[in-house]
Symmetry: C2
Subunit: 248 residues, 2 copies
């Protein structure tokens, strides 16, 4: 059944009012008609709905059943990524969404070669949100991950809101560190939150690492190999899924 992510404000009582682009998709891509069924996700729940109206401009769908959410990781994982080169952040947004990320924060690190012109940030975030939405619908996510662009200071200040905070650190991988990620996950329970900070190409500057450790972040290796910056979040999220969702 086709899934549609909507804003919570689109719900009035038991009816969702869906916008033009969704109506277009239902009518012209899915060839749906009034009486057909869709799944609607509003960020808080997953609903089986029946179409009551559908034209070129809008659609309305009445909730028939609230369904259990079974496709979300039991812990909320935020990836804070030092802006990488080119369009790598788009790959991260798409793949990390498929793998269950809750929230993506992007910041300019000392060694970020790319810089985002402040004027262009809204457009860039909008594009990432579109990528995230498509990936969320395709991968059957119930939560639509959020994306923001923040200062490094804000990433640090926000750390106290998480149950645990890690930094992916390649020097730890070189030294054979092999317990921080697994120990951290073993200490988390359903409903907890995890913040993982990842550097850009070239990693973090020493001063950046010092501030992270001062703020209580633990340095974690992601296996024994040196991963590229855009591969690191995919490892973390796969490991979280494997740890919490699969049972040996």
């Amino acid at each position: 059944m086709q899934r549609y992510f909507v804003e919570p404000s689109m719900r009035q009582g038991d009816v969702f009012h869906l916008p033009k682009d969704d109506a277009h998709h239902m009518k012209n891509v899915m060839r749906m008609e009034v009486g057909g069924e869709i799944l609607v996700l509003d960020g808080t729940g997953l609903y089986r709905c029946r179409l009551e109206a559908l034209d070129k401009q809008a659609a309305s769908a009445r909730i028939e059943e609230t369904l259990p959410i079974e496709t979300e990781l039991p812990i909320r994982v935020t990836i804070a990524h030092g802006l990488p080169k080119g369009d790598k952040i788009e790959l991260v947004a798409q793949k990390a969404t498929e793998l269950g990320m809750h929230h993506l924060r992007i910041f300019e690190a000392d060694r970020s070669v790319s810089k985002w012109d402040q004027k262009k940030v809204p457009k860039k975030i909008e594009r990432l949100e579109k990528i995230v939405k498509e990936a969320a619908e395709q991968s059957y996510r119930a939560h639509l991950p959020t994306v923001d662009f923040v200062a490094y200071d804000e990433v640090l200040q926000d750390a106290s809101n998480y149950t645990a905070c890690l930094v992916a650190y390649e020097e730890s991988a070189k030294q054979g560190e092999a317990s921080v990620l697994a120990m951290t996950l073993a200490g988390l329970q359903e409903g907890d939150s995890l913040l993982v900070v990842i550097g850009p190409e070239g990693g973090f500057a020493e001063a950046e690492i010092a501030r992270l450790t001062d703020a209580g972040f633990k340095k974690a290796a992601l296996g024994r190999r040196i991963l590229r910056t855009e591969t690191a979040p995919l490892y973390v999220l796969s490991a979280v899924s494997y740890h919490f969702e699969l049972k040996g």
Copy 2:
């Protein structure tokens, strides 16, 4: 220290004779001179070597020390991937190499939209090998993953050479399957081998799945979400690393 992958045939006694492109890299990119140190990997071992000769055409380096190999997964993982669309197989080759894949097999599945003209296969494999080599050097691999293009029959016939065989199956994810991957990894020991077969966009046809299960492959879910075809191998390899390399 810079790493160079060479053919075993380039070794004579305790000296490696490196070709033109490596000599160029040492001389013009790394600005090295005779007497400098490099790491050489020949597929069987990792050696610290000292440069004895270096010009535009070639370089020779004498082995000073055999180093322990610490960056390989304890089990050998082969990914057999149904040819996906566009250049996605390049992303798989690069990222799966970073994550420790041993061998990549590519086959045309029933639902593969892309087809490879048999005449162009050598060029395509050569390009993938170049991507794999760069990723292996960057990620500190000791083994250079191999790549081949084979018939689906050959993937099935070769299955008996592996300790365990899995197929990543999205229907299993939808049904909440949650133990096959973890149980399989729990049953493997250092030195064992694992074959994971992954379908193209649209997944496997029913007849293909039937042949896999007849051949003893187990259907494994990779978490609770529906992953795109190119994300599945990255999940598997991250899970293998997490399971075997990190300790809680």
